[in-house]
């Protein structure tokens, strides 16, 4: 066990059916690291997050979060899932959704307590959505909904934040707003983010976890087209084409 390791995966493998989704994954992430998970669709990015949450169990190897099995570390993990899986017409307000992040603490019965509500309010303020707290979730734009889901993850008062495609399918301006938010969050938390947004990744992220059945970790500075084409073949070139990725790197 390494000291101050937030996430450790050792020889982890996982498969939904006969063909393996992930094979021999070895990762160590330390406190305050900001890591991006990239890879082609179906390459196992979301699976990786679910293994860290203990929603899935590895068929081989060991997963440790804060030195514990994921199930025991959950209370310290904030999770933002992809929003496509949510029913867009579900009767729920923004505040209701954020409050769900507080569910593991406090009393078992009835409604939320004052301190739980306060935690949710400060999470909403953090993502600049306090004014929309009473609005139905269904009335929000996609970018706003993503921020609500981030606020819900923050309301869990986590030390590790897992974000599944927070910027997918957003227009540039909205994506930039989210980037500003993420930059702010990385100062306080360890963040693991699944993203297709290589321009952002190359600018702000400490290291990149490339997932395509096998997993490779690269410090962002080392990332170039070579590594990506090795990992993904033709898939990634299209993305590289319009994002001037190596030049954009400031770190």
């Amino acid at each position: 066990m390494e000291a101050n390791a937030v996430v450790e995966m050792e020889g982890v493998a996982f498969s939904y059916d006969d063909s393996p989704t992930l094979e021999n994954v070895n990762i160590v992430l330390r406190e305050r690291e900001f890591v991006s998970v990239v890879g082609p669709n179906g390459g196992g990015k979301t699976t990786l997050l679910k293994l860290l949450l203990g929603l899935l169990r590895p068929s081989k190897g060991k997963v440790r979060v804060f030195g514990k099995p994921p199930e025991e570390a959950r209370s310290r993990i904030g999770y933002m899932p992809q929003d496509v899986q949510l029913d867009p017409r579900f009767p729920v307000t923004v505040m209701d959704v954020v409050l769900m992040g507080q569910l593991s603490s406090g009393r078992r019965f009835g409604f939320y307590s004052k301190s739980q509500t306060n935690a949710a309010v400060s999470a909403l303020k953090e993502v600049n959505l306090y004014d929309l707290g009473k609005r139905p979730l269904s009335s929000l734009s996609t970018g706003q909904k993503r921020r609500v889901l981030i606020a819900r993850a923050l309301a869990s008062e986590p030390d590790l934040l897992l974000l599944d495609e927070p910027t997918a399918n957003l227009d540039l301006l909205v994506a930039q707003e989210l980037h500003t938010l993420l930059k702010k969050l990385r100062e306080k938390l360890t963040v693991i983010m699944v993203s297709h947004d290589l321009a952002f990744v190359s600018r702000y992220v400490d290291s990149v976890v490339c997932v395509n059945r096998i997993v490779a970790v690269h410090p962002t500075a080392e990332i170039d087209g070579e590594i990506f084409s090795q990992m993904f073949g033709r898939d990634i070139k299209m993305v590289m084409h319009d994002q001037h990725f190596k030049h954009g790197h400031e770190g």
Binding site: I77, D87, P91, M100
Partner: protein
């Protein structure tokens, strides 16, 4: 007016009104979850399978003289068994859920009809279970329904946060340490009990309408699940009471009248609000 006279003078009318009110409240609380989670079809399967339990209980009472047994207990047992089976299948995900629901739906009815056909005597009661028999409610039924109602409403409200999150986002619920399987099965069990309460009012065949329509109407005027719940409970109480009054006045079957009132209200609200919106636009 006739209705009020009857209400003052006849216990059976008072019982019917009370059952209608109790059923309405359970309906609002559980219906809101059922509609939000989109498991109306499961509720349909549960309610129809109840006929199996009714048939078996009825047979045992008549043929073996088990007079301590009430068909309602049979219905409750069958509905709970159906709810847990469907819930287990849907959590395990190894079978197609809709296939299993359809099978349980029809098998339950087949068992019921078979046992009723083998029961000697005139089976007028069968019609009551299928289409509602609110005016035939005994005081024993009232006790049972009251207890069931209290259990449903108490559990539905006490575990509001857990049900809410399990309906909205199962996976996130799991990451917060919620026992999703337990609460999902508990919700289906509450649905089964609600169905039993409603069977006396509108009958097996029409239960789904009373679970969904008031919630659908309420949903148009509320932002949150608990607002939907409160409003739907109110609407259900009004609908069942109106159903009782109108059917008494016109000498119509109460169950069908109640459902039609709910249906018409739903259509009016839907039509009205789309008209309202197109005017605003």
């Amino acid at each position: 007016m006739q209705f009020f006279d009857a209400l003052v003078n006849h216990t059976f009318m008072q019982n019917a009104l009370l059952i209608g009110v109790l059923a309405g409240v359970a309906c609002g609380v559980v219906g809101a979850y059922v509609v939000a989670r989109r498991i109306t079809y499961i509720a349909g399967g549960i309610s129809h399978s109840a006929l199996g339990g009714i048939g078996v209980a009825h047979y045992l009472i008549v043929v073996y003289g088990w007079h301590w047994l009430d068909p309602v207990y049979g219905a409750a047992a069958a509905a709970l068994a159906a709810a847990l089976t469907i819930g287990w299948v849907s959590l395990k995900g190894s079978e197609r859920e809709d296939t299993v629901i359809g099978a349980i739906w029809a098998i339950g009815m087949a068992v019921g009809i078979l046992f009723i056909s083998q029961t000697p005597g005139y089976n007028q009661q069968l019609m009551g279970y299928l289409f509602g028999n609110i005016l035939m409610v005994s005081s024993g039924d009232i006790w049972l329904v009251t207890v069931l109602d209290l259990v449903i409403v108490a559990i539905g409200i006490l575990f509001y946060r857990q049900f809410h999150i399990v309906c909205f986002d199962e996976e996130f619920a799991r990451t917060r340490g919620i026992n999703v399987e337990f609460y999902y099965l508990l919700l289906l069990s509450l649905t089964a009990l609600t169905v039993i309460v409603l069977v006396t009012v509108v009958g097996i065949v029409m239960v789904i309408a009373l679970i969904t329509l008031p919630v659908a109407i309420a949903g148009r005027f509320s932002r949150t699940l608990w607002q939907t719940m409160l409003l739907a409970a109110g609407i259900s109480v009004v609908v069942t009471t109106l159903g009782l009054a109108v059917s008494f006045g016109l000498d119509f079957p109460t169950g069908a009248t109640t459902i039609l009132i709910a249906g018409v209200a739903y259509l009016l609200v839907t039509f009205g609000s789309s008209l309202f919106r197109s005017r605003q636009a």
